[in-house]
Structures are given as structure tokens and as C-alpha cells.
């Protein structure tokens, strides 16, 4: 702890390939991926369906291992980072345990790693307030809307105060209005916690609105086609009026063109332009 350099990257992906052995032959999901995410930085992964976004996120989370290359999280191997609980993760489905109340779901990672019950109760109360579910601690997941469930999942991912948050299309199942609301909430939460975020999405405006940098990926094999920095000011200072700002539309255009390989092509499969 004492000897670690202050400027350690949150995520360092170096020359990573990922090949799946499928019945029909090999699938090259990722090829020659290099990516650095700085502490506190918000990075989105965007690209057409099947380009390996989820695979890359799963490698960072050590839910799968690369075929070659290395993934480091805060200066240690991805595996060690998982063991040390350096990251929190949220998926497209909230994945709450239906038999646990909202509070108990948020408390799960704390309970699993032996926090005292007083500590747990205080932290859960904090998190419930953070995601704005103050009166819902005793409710059960089947009594919540999809957006509320997703907020519980985010609170759960933040329970151990991780410095890295991994999210795979967490708002993918939400309606547009809830989604925009959740995006602003996420910006607020990530500013309050100071965590770095790796965020997988299909939506260009979502990626633009949330990110410091947008990583554009292309399929077969999955590669990083471009990295587009968002010249929109710090993520902490963004608010809903940004969505109507000219700079916002410029960034959307920049990402869209990167998706189409520089040329202003008409469509990219699997990516929403709304």
C-alpha cells in the first residue's frame, strides 16, 4: 500500500486478444486491445453488436481471462483486483436477489466480506440516500420499477467504495425518460464517489453525455477503432441542458463518424443514433 505510486492507472489493458473456442470454430472476440483508464475517469465503450464490448468488460472484471496480453487494475492483476474487491459491477439486468429487501441487497457485498452489522447499516443508509431510494429500504425487488431496481444494483456496486465501477448497458432496459434521469444521477454519483467508470452502451448520446472519452470499437475481430475525447467540460459539471448544446451535437457527430470509420456512412448496425 505504502509503496504504490499515486499515479497508478485504474485500468491498463495491454495487447489483449480473446479467442472463444466455439463448436463452429474459433471466434476472435478481441484483437490487439490497448486501453488505459485513469483514476476518476469516465470511459464509455461503444460499437455494433458483437464487437466485444461485454467481453472486454468481463476481462477487466476477471470474469473471464484473456487468451493473450495482460489486464491490470490499479497496478495488480485483474484476478488480484477481484479478490481485493477493487471494483463494483452492474449489468443490464439489475440481478437483485428476490428474497432480499432493498437494504439487504445493497448490504450483500458488505455481509459477504464480514463488515460489522453497525458498519453495514450505516453504509447502506448512506447508499440508499445516494441513489434516492430513501423510503424503499424495506421493499422487495418485485415491488420496484425497473429504474428503481437498477438504482439498487448501482448502490450495491458502490457498497465497498470501489475506485472502479464497471457497467454493462445498465440503462439498456429503461425507457428514454428514466434513462436520461439515471444518466444525470450517475454523473452525480460518480462525481461524489470519484470512482473511475468503464461504461458499455449502445447509445451514442448516452456515451457522449456521460464520458470523458468514448472508445469506439469495430467488429470481426473486435478492435478499438478510435478513441474520441469529449470536449464538454468535466463530467461533474454536466447537467441536462448540455443535451441541447451545440458542442454536444458536435461530439455526437464525431462519435458517429468514428463509428463509420471516418466516412459519414448512413448506418451502423446495432447502434442507436437517437
Amino acid at each position: 500500500m505504502t509503496e504504490s505510486v499515486i499515479t497508478t492507472d485504474a485500468v491498463t489493458v495491454t495487447a489483449v486478444d480473446k479467442v472463444f473456442e466455439a463448436a463452429a470454430g474459433q471466434v476472435v472476440a478481441l484483437s490487439g486491445i490497448d486501453l488505459v483508464v485513469e483514476p476518476g475517469e469516465f470511459v464509455s465503450l461503444i460499437g455494433p453488436s458483437g464487437c466485444g464490448k461485454s467481453t472486454l468488460l468481463r476481462l477487466i472484471a476477471d470474469l473471464d481471462t484473456p487468451s493473450s496480453g495482460s489486464v491490470e487494475v490499479f497496478g495488480t492483476s485483474a484476478h488480484q483486483a477481484r479478490v481485493d474487491q477493487k471494483y463494483g459491477i452492474a449489468f443490464q439486468q439489475a440481478g437483485l436477489l428476490p428474497w432480499r429487501s432493498v437494504a439487504a441487497n445493497i448490504a450483500l457485498p458488505l455481509e459477504l466480506h464480514g463488515s460489522s452489522s453497525v458498519e453495514t447499516r450505516e453504509r447502506v443508509a448512506e447508499l440508499i440516500a445516494l441513489v434516492g431510494l430513501d423510503d424503499f429500504g424495506d421493499r422487495y425487488p418485485d415491488e420496484l420499477s425497473g429504474g428503481m431496481q437498477q438504482r439498487v444494483a448501482i448502490a450495491r456496486a458502490l457498497a465497498k467504495k470501489p475506485e472502479l465501477l464497471l457497467m454493462d448497458e445498465p440503462f439498456g432496459a429503461l425507457d428514454e425518460m428514466t434513462r436520461e434521469y439515471m444518466q444525470t444521477e450517475l454523473l452525480r454519483i460518480s462525481a461524489e464517489t470519484g470512482a473511475a467508470v468503464v461504461f458499455v452502451t449502445h447509445s451514442i448520446p448516452e456515451a457522449v453525455y456521460l464520458s470523458d472519452r468514448v472508445v469506439v470499437m469495430s467488429p470481426r475481430p473486435g478492435r478499438i477503432a478510435a478513441v474520441v475525447p469529449m470536449a464538454l467540460g468535466s463530467t461533474a459539471s454536466r447537467a441536462d441542458d448540455l443535451r441541447e448544446d451545440g458542442a454536444f451535437f458536435e461530439m455526437i457527430t464525431a462519435v458517429r463518424e468514428a463509428l463509420h470509420g471516418g466516412a459519414p456512412a448512413s448506418s451502423a448496425r446495432g447502434v442507436e443514433n437517437r
Partner: protein, 310 residues
């Protein structure tokens, strides 16, 4: 048939249920209605059916309707409140049946506990090691095809040879072992299915928490198995009762309801209504056993929730 019952996955849909008290009242209402319908059918057939039953070839497909074969409902009910025999100081019949039934219930409960324990342990081992599942599951299914009648005397004679220090094998233990033999099966199959029910999302979540097999079991697989376990436990309770009654008969254990069934059947020519008393007792026993498990289920209400928002 048992496997099919256990394997039925709990419905993932959340229904808007009527208030619990009203639902319960309805269930009782239907139960009572069913009983009344059965009684009416009995009397109707007795009234209208052919006196000598219906015989096709050598096989009697419908029973005789004589008072000897089918006593009136009210005669059977009335008989319950008369003494067992004409001997001085004989107990009233229902009490005699109740005493025998409670002995059988105790044995069945012991068998149920042993069976449930064995079933859960087997399911745990099979969940833990794939190899164990493929090695053990066929034998577990095969075990249920061994006829109880053949198996009971063997258990009794093996048991009688067991003597460890002060411990001596009792005859009732043989009956309990046989009851547990029928009880473990639905639990093993149901629990295994339940332990395997969590989806990839939840399993990866536990993996992201970097916890081992036992914690995944405790926090995810066991709670997820509850909706599968409740019907399995109820089936196990019914099986334990049937197993205990049949085993009492085939091992010749005294004092239980199985013994009474045989004994009173022998006296049926002189006292037909009496023979039905222990049969009613056995039915009540099954209901009590299954009902107790259903009560346990009510305590585990939260584990039957689904993930979906309603």
C-alpha cells in the same frame, strides 16, 4: 411420476393474489366441498350400483355395494364413537385409531427427518461435483424402483443384527429407515434442481465478490432452492407416511396404524364399519404431515418472491 412433480419449476410470473385470508378460506371451502362430493359419490354408487359390482372376465372393476363391502358413511362415522370391542373398559374406536396414528406419525417424522437430511446432503454433493451427479443420480432414481414389500424384511433382519454398546436396534427404527428411503428421493432431486437454478447473472455476481463455494451456496443457491424444496418436502412427508404404514405391515410392527388396518380388515366380516376407521386415520395422517410442511412453507414466504417487478 414423483420426479415429474418435483421437477416442475416454480412459476416466474407474479400473480396478483387475493388477500391471503380470503384465499385460505377459499382453499378450505374447496377442500370441504371435495369431501362432501366424495361422500355423496360413495352413497350414490351404493344406492344405484349393481349389488354384485361389475365383473369383466375374471376382474371385478367395480366393487360390491353390499353393507359388508361399502358401509354407509354415517355407519362408519358412528362406529368411531363406539368402543373398539365389547370387552369391559375397551377404548372408544377413534381414540384407539388416534393413538396408533400418533405412533406412526412419530415414526414417519423420524423417517422424514432422516430422509430430508440424506436427500439434502446428496444434492449438495451432486451440486459440488459434476462427477458425483452423473455417478449417483441414476442410482438414486433406480433406488425408487425396488419394491418396498421385498425390501422391508431385509431392513428388519439387518437392523436386528446391529448392536453398538448400549445401543440396540429397535423394530420401529426399521420402519423409520424404510420411510426415509421413500422420503429422501424427492428431496434429493428437488434440491439438486433448486441448487442449479440460479442464472449466470447471479453466479457471476457472486464470482465478482470473489467468494467460495460455500458462501455462494449459502447466499445464493440455498435460498434460490426454496421454491423447489417446498413441494419436495411436502411430497417427502406424504411418502414418509405411506412408507411407514406399508413398512409397519410388512415388518409386522405392533401398535401403529398399519397394524390396525390389517387387524381390523380381518374382523370386517363381523364389523365392516370398523375396518374403515384406521384407513380414515391413515388419510388424516397424510394430511397432517403434508399440512405441517405447508405451514413451514408459509414461514419461507420471502423466498418465493420473483425478481420481476410486478
Amino acid at each position: 411420476m414423483q420426479a415429474a412433480t418435483v421437477a416442475r419449476a416454480p412459476s416466474r410470473r407474479t400473480r396478483t393474489a387475493p388477500p391471503a385470508s380470503r384465499a385460505r378460506a377459499r382453499a378450505w371451502g374447496f377442500g370441504a366441498l371435495g369431501l362432501a362430493a366424495l361422500a355423496a359419490l360413495w352413497e350414490l354408487y351404493k344406492l344405484l350400483g349393481p349389488a354384485d359390482g361389475l365383473v369383466i372376465g375374471e376382474v371385478r372393476v367395480l366393487p360390491r355395494t353390499s353393507d359388508l363391502a361399502m358401509p354407509h358413511i354415517w355407519e362408519t362415522a358412528g362406529r368411531l364413537f363406539e368402543p373398539v370391542t365389547r370387552a369391559e373398559g375397551a377404548r372408544v374406536l377413534w381414540l384407539e385409531v388416534a393413538i396408533a396414528a400418533s405412533l406412526t406419525l412419530g415414526i414417519a417424522a423420524a423417517g422424514w427427518i432422516v430422509g430430508v437430511t440424506v436427500g439434502l446432503l446428496l444434492a449438495l454433493v451432486m451440486q459440488r461435483w459434476r462427477l458425483a451427479e452423473s455417478a449417483a443420480l441414476p442410482w438414486i432414481i433406480l433406488s425408487q424402483t425396488v419394491p418396498l414389500i421385498a425390501f422391508a424384511p431385509v431392513v428388519k433382519s439387518w437392523g436386528s443384527r446391529i448392536e453398538i454398546g448400549a445401543f440396540e436396534w429397535q423394530d420401529w427404527m426399521s420402519v423409520a429407515v424404510i420411510a426415509s428411503y421413500l422420503a429422501f428421493f424427492p428431496v434429493a432431486v428437488g434440491a439438486l434442481k433448486g441448487f442449479q437454478s440460479p442464472d449466470r447473472l447471479h453466479l457471476e455476481l457472486m464470482r465478482s465478490y470473489s467468494v467460495g463455494w460455500w458462501q455462494t451456496m449459502r447466499y445464493l443457491r440455498i435460498p434460490a432452492a426454496v421454491p423447489y424444496l417446498l413441494p419436495a418436502l411436502r411430497l417427502a412427508a406424504a411418502n414418509a407416511v405411506v412408507g411407514a404404514v406399508v413398512a409397519e405391515v410388512s415388518t409386522g410392527l405392533q401398535g401403529g396404524i398399519g397394524r390396525l388396518v390389517i387387524q381390523y380388515a380381518g374382523q370386517a366380516s363381523g364389523d365392516p364399519a370398523k375396518a374403515w376407521a384406521p384407513i380414515l386415520g391413515a388419510i388424516a395422517l397424510g394430511l397432517i404431515a403434508a399440512g405441517s410442511v405447508a405451514l413451514m412453507g408459509a414461514l419461507a414466504r420471502n423466498y418465493r418472491r420473483t425478481e420481476d417487478a410486478s
